[in-house]
Each structure stands twice: as C-alpha cells, then as structure tokens.
C-alpha cells in the first residue's frame, strides 16, 4: 500500500473497532466527535488482542488483525443489541473567540507533527534496534521462545521482559505499508498524539470552558519534549497517552458518570500495561488513588471503575503467564526493590534519581510547566475550599514521581547511564497526566470563584466547605 495509505488504513481499522466498542455508550448526537477516542480505544484493544494472539502462536499480520478486529467488533455490537444504545446527550459548548484562536494553534501544531511523523525515521535507536525488530519477529514467527526468551542457541532480543503492544502495532504498520519502513513508527506516533488531543478535547468538551480546555491542550501538545519524542519512534509516547487517558477517564467517570470515559479507562489501561513494564505499576497507582478518592466522593461509581481496572489487568495475564513459563526475569527484580538492606546499600542513587527526574518534569523547555501548573492549581483550589480532593491530581503525579525514583534506585544498571538514556522519557506519562488534569481543575477553580461573593474572593479566606464533591 505504501507508507501513507498503509498507516492510514491500519488506523481506519482501529477507528472502526473503537466505534464498535464504544457503540453502547456513544451519544448518537455527536458520533463523529468521538473519532479520536475511537482510535485510541480501538488501537489499544486491537493491539492488545493481536499481541495475545501472538502469545497463543498466531503470527502478527492481516489474518490475526482481521480475527481480533471481527471479534471485538462483534462484541461491541452484541452488547449494543442486548443493552441498547444510550439516550444520553454529549455535553456541548459554543466555541468562544479565545478558544478559536487556541484551536487554530492546536490544529497547526498537530498538522506539523503529523506530517513530520510520516516523513521522519526514528531518532531513538531503541525504536529500530528493539521495538521494530521485535515486531518483525512477531510477524514472522509469532511469540517464539527462540527469539524472545534467553537461550544459547539463537540471538534473542534484549529487554525480554517488555510487553509487546508497540511492537505489534509497528508490525501491523509494516504489513500495511508493504515493506520494512522505519517511518511507520513516527507516523503512528503522530496519529496517536492527534487522537490523544481529540480524545481529551471531546471528553472535556462542555465540561470545561473551551478557551481553558483548548489553551491547556496547546500547552500539552506544544510541549517541546512531546514533539521531539513524537519523532523518536519510542513506546514512551503511547504509554504516556494511555496513562493520561486512563487517569482522565477514571476522573470523569467518578465525577460525571461519563460512560464513554469508563470505556476509555479500561481500553487505555490495557494499552498502557501492554506497552511497557512500568505501565502496570503506573496504572495500578492511578487506579488505587482514583478508587480511594471515589470511595470518599462517588461511592456508587467505584465498582464499575474497579471492574474497568480489572479488565485492563486481566488482558495482561497471558503475557505474564508466558514470561513466567519461560523464566524471563524482570529488569528491576521486585525482591531487590522491596529489600531494605539492598536499598540501604545504594542510597546515593536515590538523590540523583530524584533530582534528575524532577529536573525533567519541571524544566519549562521540556514540558512547558505542565507539572508546576497542576501543583499551583491544586494548591489554590485546596486553599480556597480546604477540600482534600483538590490535592488528589497533584498527589497522583507526585506518587508516580516517587515510583520512578524508587525504580531507578532499585535498578541494577549504572545509574548515570540509565538516567541519561531514559529519564527524559520515563517522565512522559506523568507530564501528560498532569497536562490533561490541569484544564478540569482550572475550570473548577473558575466556577468556585464565580460562585463566591466578591467580598469573599480574598484567597486567604477559605470558602465554606459545603461537603459536596466538585461539580461535573
């Protein structure tokens, strides 16, 4: 098909599957506006499905894609038949002038990133040295222990503990393109970033005033480090997108009962866990915080969120079982990471890890102050209301930061090498998560301020606590 037609066709399949999965919960009035969410949901679910088929011995290719796509589509349609389509309306809003200017900027940046994605060969050597070759091997041999498990007979792949969603999607891109073309990785990243922006915009549309939402998205998508990584071919951008959408989806389900957001949560959780090893702990961490906050503020919605999380983790069981069966060790053994004596012997690593990771997260030339902005808005909201829920978004990012620092602390590789080659990209999920949570917090802050009598707007005077959760 060639690069452009091939990658576009593959993503059309993802969109089709995504719409089928979203069908039971999709507001009929605004179907087209959910195309980005459909792409992310379909891409995550289809990639995970084809990866599981590869574990079962099916080569990654058109046949396995067709089988998985048909299965998922049939599942979505069957649920719609049984439960019917939702009568809910999609939240709507009028685009204001400030929002229109931001939208133009957003479209400009995304267009350039998308064009650049199709025209660039990945600069990160892990992309063409590990992710894509693994995909080619999945295409040729499925998940073959000769190549994917350490042995003395064949040359096996490095980092065998990494899950293979990104390699699977890359292999499908190559199959659709018709030849080994490294640009499929960046092209796919460009499309995923555009779908990410569209998903966040759609999920928050009508809930956050357009100028706040769109300017925040300009900050997220215009972050120099995101744009740079979009041409890296690496798995950190998809992981970041999945983790951010998992967190945003969970928050919107708990706060608003948005069922599209719940499906996005389940699919993106599965996608994150299948993309990189750190995906599972990061999803677990966000889920735990969301469940804790939900138990206090939206108890009736907690079981469904727990179920979405359980679905996401259940999809990873075949990969974990395969790893266990082939005795593939973790790069950061849990035994070491939980051993106080082991950690105490290397405390010097902790400070350097904390400083380096924090430096990347706070550097305005990398992530345009997304994390500091989230911290400021969280603290402002908490100061006004004295409600601890305001601190939850900042808290989950802080916990993610602590998790990463702990992982570098416990890792066995040379720390300088490890930090220098990976810290700038392992923070991507945290930066994107912070970025997507800024807009709803700013909106809540503005609403609180508008609802507060003028004489009480001095921020040093706490607003009386009404005991009610933040409004949707």
């Amino acid at each position: 098909m060639g690069l452009v037609a091939g990658v576009v066709a593959l993503n059309a399949v993802f969109v089709g599957v995504g719409y089928a999965l979203l069908l039971p919960v999709l507001p009929a009035s605004a179907t087209a506006s959910y195309a980005g969410a459909a792409l992310l949901v379909g891409g995550a679910a289809t990639g995970v499905g084809v990866f599981i088929a590869a574990i079962a011995g099916l080569r990654v290719g058109l046949l396995s894609l067709l089988g998985v796509a048909l299965l998922l589509t049939a599942g979505g349609i069957a649920v719609t038949f049984i439960r019917g389509r939702t009568a809910e309306q999609a939240p709507s809003a009028r685009l204001d002038t400030g929002g229109a200017v931001a939208l133009a900027g957003l479209v400009c940046v995304l267009t350039l990133a998308l064009v650049g994605g199709f025209r660039s060969s990945p600069w990160l050597d892990d992309s063409w040295g590990i992710w894509l070759p693994k995909g080619i091997a999945l295409s040729a041999h499925a998940l073959d222990e000769r190549l994917f498990a350490p042995n003395g007979t064949y040359v096996f792949f490095e980092v065998p503990d990494y899950p293979l969603w990104w390699s699977t999607v890359a292999a499908l891109g190559v199959r659709f393109a018709g030849n080994v073309d490294a640009r499929v990785l960046d092209a796919q990243l460009g499309i995923l970033v555009a779908a990410f922006a569209a998903t966040v915009a759609r999920l928050l549309w009508g809930r956050v005033r357009p100028w706040v939402l769109l300017w925040t998205l300009v900050l997220v998508v215009g972050s120099p480090e995101l744009l740079r990584q979009t041409q890296s071919g690496g798995a950190d951008v998809p992981l970041g997108i999945f983790v951010a959408c998992f967190g945003l989806g969970a928050a919107l389900w708990l706060a608003c009962g948005d069922r599209v957001a719940l499906v996005v949560t389940a699919a993106c959780g599965a996608g994150a866990i299948a993309t990189k090893t750190e995906g599972a702990p990061e999803v677990a961490l966000v889920l735990a915080v969301a469940l804790g906050a939900g138990a206090m503020l939206a108890r009736p919605r907690v079981p469904a969120l727990a179920a979405a999380g359980a679905v996401a983790f259940a999809t990873a069981v075949p990969w974990w079982a395969w790893r266990a069966a082939h005795e593939i060790p973790s790069r950061v053994p849990l035994r070491d990471a939980l051993d106080p004596a082991f950690l105490a012997n290397r405390t010097g690593r902790l400070g350097e890890s904390v400083a380096t990771l924090g430096g990347h997260l706070l550097d305005p030339t990398e992530w345009l102050l997304l994390v500091p902005l989230l911290l400021v808005v969280s603290v402002l909201g908490w100061r006004r209301s004295r409600q601890a829920v305001w601190l939850v978004p900042a808290g989950v990012v802080a916990l993610g930061y602590a998790f990463l620092a702990w992982a570098y602390w416990a890792a066995q590789e040379d720390l300088d090498y490890l930090l220098g080659t990976s810290a700038y990209r392992t923070v991507t999920p945290l930066a994107l998560l912070a970025g997507v949570l800024v807009a709803p917090l700013v909106e809540l802050l503005l609403r609180d301020r508008e609802a507060t009598p003028v004489e009480m707007r001095d921020t040093s005077v706490p607003v009386p606590d009404t005991g009610s959760p933040p409004r949707c």
């Binding site: 690069l3 685009l95 002038t97 929002g99 229109a100 200017v101 939208l103 133009a104 900027g105 957003l106 479209v107 400009c108 940046v109 267009t111 350039l112 990133a113 064009v115 650049g116 994605g117 025209r119 660039s120 060969s121 990945p122 600069w123 050597d125 992309s127 063409w128 040295g129 590990i130 894509l132 070759p133 080619i136 091997a137 295409s139 040729a140 041999h141 000769r146 190549l147 003395g152 007979t153 064949y154 040359v155 792949f157 030849n179 080994v180 073309d181 490294a182 640009r183 744009l227 041409q231």
Partner: protein
Amino acid sequence: MSRSATAVGAGLVLAVVVAALPGPGRRLAEIPGDGPDPAYDVPLPEARIRDVGEQLPDDATYLLRTPGATPLVAGNLKAAGQLFFAPALPAQDERILGWEIVYRRGALTLRRR
C-alpha cells in the same frame, strides 16, 4: 462558516505557512524528509542489507560476523539483520548455522556454510 471550521482552516493554513518558512515549524514537519531505512548511528550499506535479506531463504539460520568492527557498528548491524533478514533466524550456536554474513570494511557478503 462556523467558528470552529474557520479555526481549523486557519490552523491548516498557518501550518502550511510555518512549514514553508525556515525555523522550528519546518523542522517539526521534517522538511526535507528521511528515507525508509533506520537512522543508523554509523554509515551502513543500506541497499546491500536489504539485498542480503532478499537472498536469504525464509527458513535459514544465519550468523553475522563483524571482524574488526566497533561495538557500535556490530550492534547496528545486528539490529539491521533482525529487521531485514527475517524470517531467517539469527543463530549463536554454530552447529545449527546455515548461512554466514560477514561485514568487513563496509562490505557485506553472504555465503552458505
């Protein structure tokens, strides 16, 4: 025309203008663009690598030898082999070896064992 359609149109026009001018927009749009081969860390015979991949039988096992090459060259070639020589399998054990691919001073040769 609706405000959102105007904004999207303006964004597209802006993208074209920015891509046409020298600067970060042009770099982001990757003008001029790259080819389909990986951005190797060192110069490698890209066409010859694809050619060897075409010649290797699908059921082959091969060993890549890189005498005198730096670890960086050897590592890049290993990855190139995994990309372009599949479905042939890269072997470590010489007892199962069917083919040998030798890289020496920029030239790649393929021979049956």
